[in-house]
Structures are given as structure tokens and as C-alpha cells.
Amino acid sequence: MFNHIARRLLHALPTLWLVATLTFILLRLAPGGPFDSEKQVHPTVRAQIEAHYGLDQPIYRQYLRFIGNLLQGDLGPSYKYEGWNVQEIIAQSAPVSLELGALALVVAIVVGMPLGVLASLRHHRPAESILMGIAMLGICLPAFVLGPLLLLVFSSSLDWFNPLGWNYPSDRVLPAFTLGLFYAAYIARLARSGMLDVMQHEYIRTARAKGLKESVIVCRHTLRTALYPVVAYIGPAVAGLISGSFVVETIFFIPGLGQFFVNSAFNRDYSMVVGTALFYALLIILFNLLVDIIQMWMNPRTRND
């Protein structure tokens, strides 16, 4: 198991390097420097600014410096937020995004799992079609449609929640649902098909023959196996949650990393864009590893490899 984890971590290194290099190349080739939008700057001042950020050096020197700093966890100064280092901005805003993402994941599982399990227990009955219809609806409503709709109903009309901000616990509800419901719908579908799959197995029939209660069969026998595809889906879901956070943070004005990323792409804040993308890559790689470990732990057959 440790060998496996170590191998996966080693595989992650070239990925991170490639992402770092590609983003570096892309952004250095970008037309228009980070200071283009500012008014006419005197050439001397401009040269000084560029020297300050190391932009006057030959490109390979910039690259080596960039990678060297990276290895020390230093992502360099932001071009637009003066006086801030990229890693400082990430450290400030990432917790907000992580909280949002974690809550959305909770919504996805807590809503999606029961929906799917219930549908599978009502197989071939109207309740199943209704539940799965709801799930399909969730899949066809992306965050940027769902968010405004939820705001319209629960904030403007019913006045239950604040329309924007991230100050009170109640401010978390609408964003978490906006981000999480799509994945809840997806998880419901996975859980349903997983359950139906498992229920055809012999050992379920044996359990029934022994006279076990249906609730025990579901909780003890089917759920555990049916959870497997759901857990496998959490890896890709996290990648999706990150992309979703750009939209949700824009809708609800949440001061998270997603907003910073989008804004820095807008402003061509090179170091900020590269740093954030790298951070996301690292996050996704770590999460996939975590999911991998959970899956190994869940499946005894792979536990002792």
C-alpha cells in the first residue's frame, strides 16, 4: 500500500512540472504585458518595474528562477495586487473556496445518496421515475442557471437568505446547494445503478432467504458495495467543483480563490494565474490519491497488494 502511494506521488511530479512549464510558456508568450492597461508610463519607470519583477532577464533565466522559487513554495509577487505574494493570496482565499467545496460535496452526498438508494428500492415503480426525473433535472441545470433561480425564489421572494456575501453561517446555504445539486443528481444516478447491480448478486438472495430484514440487507450488504462507484466519482467531482466555484463565487460575491483566478485571468496577472492553476493541480492530484486510498481500504481484494 505504501509502495502504491509512493508510486502515485512520483507520477504526480512530472504532471506538476508539465503544468508549471506549460503555464509558464503560455503566459510569457502572452501578447501584452501585465502593465499594459495602465496609462502611459515613462520608459525608465517601465524598465524599472520590469527589472523589479525580473522580466528583463533572458527567458531561460526567468524559467529557472521560477522553478527554483516554486520548489521553495514561493509563487512570486502578484503583478496586480501590489505588495502581495501569490501564495499569500492563495492562503487567504483558498480556505473560503475549500469550505464552499466541502459543503457542496456534503450536499451532493447527503442529497444524492438517499435519492438514488430510494429509487433503487422502488425499482419499476412510479416513485423511481419521479426520483430519477428530479435527478435528470438537476443534471440539466448548471450552476449559473440554478444559482440565479435559487436566489430569485429563496432570497428575493421568500427573503430567507442574504443574496450575497460570506459573513454568516446562513450565507453558506444557497451557494453550497447551487454548487452541490448537480453532483447530487449525478451521485443519485450512480447510487441507483450501483444498488440495482448489487441486488442481483447471489449473496443478497442468500441474505433474503435467511430472512433478514430488508433494512439490514440494504445497510449491511448492498450499500457498502454500491458505494464503490460513488466514491470513485468523488475524484472527478472535485475537479468539477473547482470549475463550478468560479461561477458560484461570481454569482454570490464570495471572496474565494475562484474569483481571484477569474479576475487575474481577466487582468493578465501572469504569476497569479500560474500560481493558482498549479495550486489547483496539486489539490486535484492529492484528492485523487485520497480517493484511491479510500477505494483500496474499501475493497479488501486490493488491500494487501
Binding site: 512530472p14 504532471t15 508539465l18 503544468v19 506549460l22 503555464t23 503560455l26 503566459l27 508568450l29 502572452a30 501578447p31 435528470m136 443534471i139 440539466c140 441545470l141 448548471p142 449559473f144 442557471v145 444559482g147 440565479p148 433561480l149 436566489l151 430569485l152 428575493s156 475537479a239 468539477g240 473547482i242 470549475s243 468560479f246 461561477v247 461570481t250 454569482i251 483566478f261 477569474v262 485571468a265 481577466f266 493578465r268 494565474v273 492553476a277 489547483y280 493541480a281 486535484i284 492530484i285
Partner: protein, 292 residues
């Protein structure tokens, strides 16, 4: 279901795989509904604007935002522009970008995957390692990176989206091509000295058409969604051009007072995604060789 299989079995002697698949597709009700909805919306977006007398950029400030009426079916926005025509034109751009970017993805992904799978060995390992590495990042992030570089024009936008969507295509095609390469008829062709490009074009490519078609239909809604996300956060199509993402964004800002600005574009968008997904699922079932 049983009846369906019987029909398929009875005809399988006399019909080709293509006809067979078509028949199965015609029996899939959800795919039919999806297909009808999509054709309807596409035609509406494509031809509709020619029949509407209102123009998309004609502003009428005195008129202002009006609720839906006989003259303006979907109402007008606060600049007095007709929402119906704007929704249709936005759809043109969204669906257009969807198709164009998918073509780009096809043109890169299919040759890349086919050659990687066919070549095998170190070529395959290296080229797929590269794909896997980029694949580690969500597409939205890569496209945002690319648009930072390329700028925000619409042509560059679909190039950027195509430039990431090909990755999945390459992965699928490579798996197929790798499996086909081991078939005896491909080996026979190799022994006969058929050049590699001929083998790829004549033997490998036609046999992967099924999965390619299925994946192409599933790529289109994915692209439309990606474009809308980008436009929504302001990094995609730029005003005054409109796409569904922009319209939904504008609508979301004013939904308290003028809800129709949000509802109609959102409805069109969701219906399209819904329809395309059902067509893709239906095609996957219809073209699955295990069924025939």
C-alpha cells in the same frame, strides 16, 4: 425491451450495422424527444431571426424593459432590445461554438489517438503521458489559461475549447485503435505491405466510427456548457455579441425586476443540453456492438 431485441435479431441478417443502429435509435423514445427538441431549437435559432422584424441591437430607451407581449414574445431588456431575437442569436453562437469546437477536437483527437494506439511502444507511452498530464487539470482552468494567452475573440475561444476537448477524444480513440491493431485482418494487411497510413484510413478508422460518433454527440453539450461558463464569468464571448451564457448572466443581474430576462435564455439553454445528452445516450445504446 424483449420485443426490441427480437426485432433487431430478425433484421440483423439483412441489415448493416448502420441500419440496425438507426432502427434501435428510432425505438428509443427519449432519444427521439431529445432529437426533436434539438432540431426544433436549432432551426429556430438558425432561421428564426430572418422572420422576426425586431433586431438584436436596436435599443429603445424610452420603451425600456417590457414584460412578454404579442409584439415582443419574450419581452424586452432595459435597453428595449427584444429578448426573443437575442435568445435566438445567442443560441446561434452557443450552438455554433459547440459544433466548431467539437470539429477542432475531432481533427486533433482522432489522428492523435489513432496513431498513438496504432504505433504502440514508446511513442504511445510518451504521447499518452502528455495527454494524462494535461488531463489532470479541469478543462475550464486550461481554457481560461489559453484565453489569457490568446485573447477573447470568438474564433480563439472555440480554438481554445477545441484544444482541450480533443484530450478525451484522443484517449477514447487510442484505446479503440490499440485493440483493433491486434485484429488479424490488420496484421494481414501489414504482412501484405500496406503502408501504415492506408491501414489507419481503411481498416482502423472505419471500425472506430461508432465510438467516435457517440463521443462527438456528447462533446457538443460539454462544449456549450464550457462556453457558457466562460461567457458567464466574462471570459468568453464579449458583448455586444451574445451567447446564452451572457444572456443568463445579464438576466441573473436583473432577475428581481425583469425575471423574463433570465427565464427564457435559461430555458432554451437547459432544453438544449438536456436534448443533446439524450441523443448521445441513445446513440451509445444504438451503436453498442454488443447489442447487435
Amino acid at each position: 425491451m424483449i420485443k426490441q431485441k427480437k426485432v433487431a435479431a430478425a433484421n440483423s441478417a439483412a441489415t448493416s450495422l448502420g441500419q440496425d443502429a438507426w432502427q434501435r435509435l428510432c425505438q428509443n423514445r427519449m432519444a427521439q424527444i431529445g432529437g426533436s427538441i434539438f432540431i426544433l431549437i436549432s432551426l429556430l435559432c438558425l432561421i428564426g431571426p430572418f422572420f422576426v422584424s425586431n433586431t438584436y441591437d436596436a435599443t429603445n430607451l424610452a420603451y425600456g424593459a417590457q414584460a412578454p407581449s404579442a409584439e415582443h414574445w419574450f419581452g424586452t431588456d432595459d435597453l428595449g432590445r427584444d429578448v426573443f431575437i437575442r435568445t435566438l442569436l445567442g443560441g446561434r453562437i452557443s450552438i455554433g461554438v459547440g459544433f466548431a469546437a467539437t470539429v477542432v477536437a475531432l481533427l486533433i483527437g482522432v489522428p492523435y489517438g489513432a496513431i498513438a494506439g496504432y504505433a504502440g511502444g514508446r511513442t504511445e507511452a510518451l504521447s499518452m503521458r502528455f495527454v494524462d498530464a494535461i488531463y489532470a487539470l479541469p478543462f475550464t482552468i486550461i481554457v481560461i489559461l489559453l484565453t489569457t494567452w490568446l485573447g477573447r475573440s470568438i474564433v480563439l475561444l472555440f480554438l481554445a475549447i477545441g484544444a482541450v476537448e480533443w484530450l478525451t477524444m484522443a484517449r477514447i480513440v487510442r484505446g479503440q485503435s490499440k485493440a483493433l491493431r491486434k485484429q488479424t485482418y490488420v496484421e494481414a494487411a501489414m504482412i501484405n505491405g500496406v503502408p501504415h497510413h492506408r491501414i489507419l484510413l481503411r481498416h482502423i478508422l472505419p471500425n472506430m466510427l461508432g465510438p467516435i460518433i457517440v463521443y462527438t454527440t456528447l462533446t457538443i453539450p460539454a462544449v456549450i456548457l464550457l462556453e457558457s461558463i466562460l461567457s458567464f464569468v466574462g471570459l468568453g464571448v464579449q458583448p455586444p455579441m451574445s451567447s446564452w451564457g451572457i444572456l443568463i448572466n445579464e438576466g441573473a443581474m436583473k432577475m428581481d425586476i425583469y425575471p423574463w430576462l433570465l427565464i427564457f435564455p435559461a430555458l432554451f439553454f437547459s432544453l438544449t443540453i438536456f436534448a443533446l445528452n439524450f441523443i448521445g445516450d441513445g446513440l451509445r445504446d444504438a451503436l453498442d456492438p454488443k447489442e447487435s
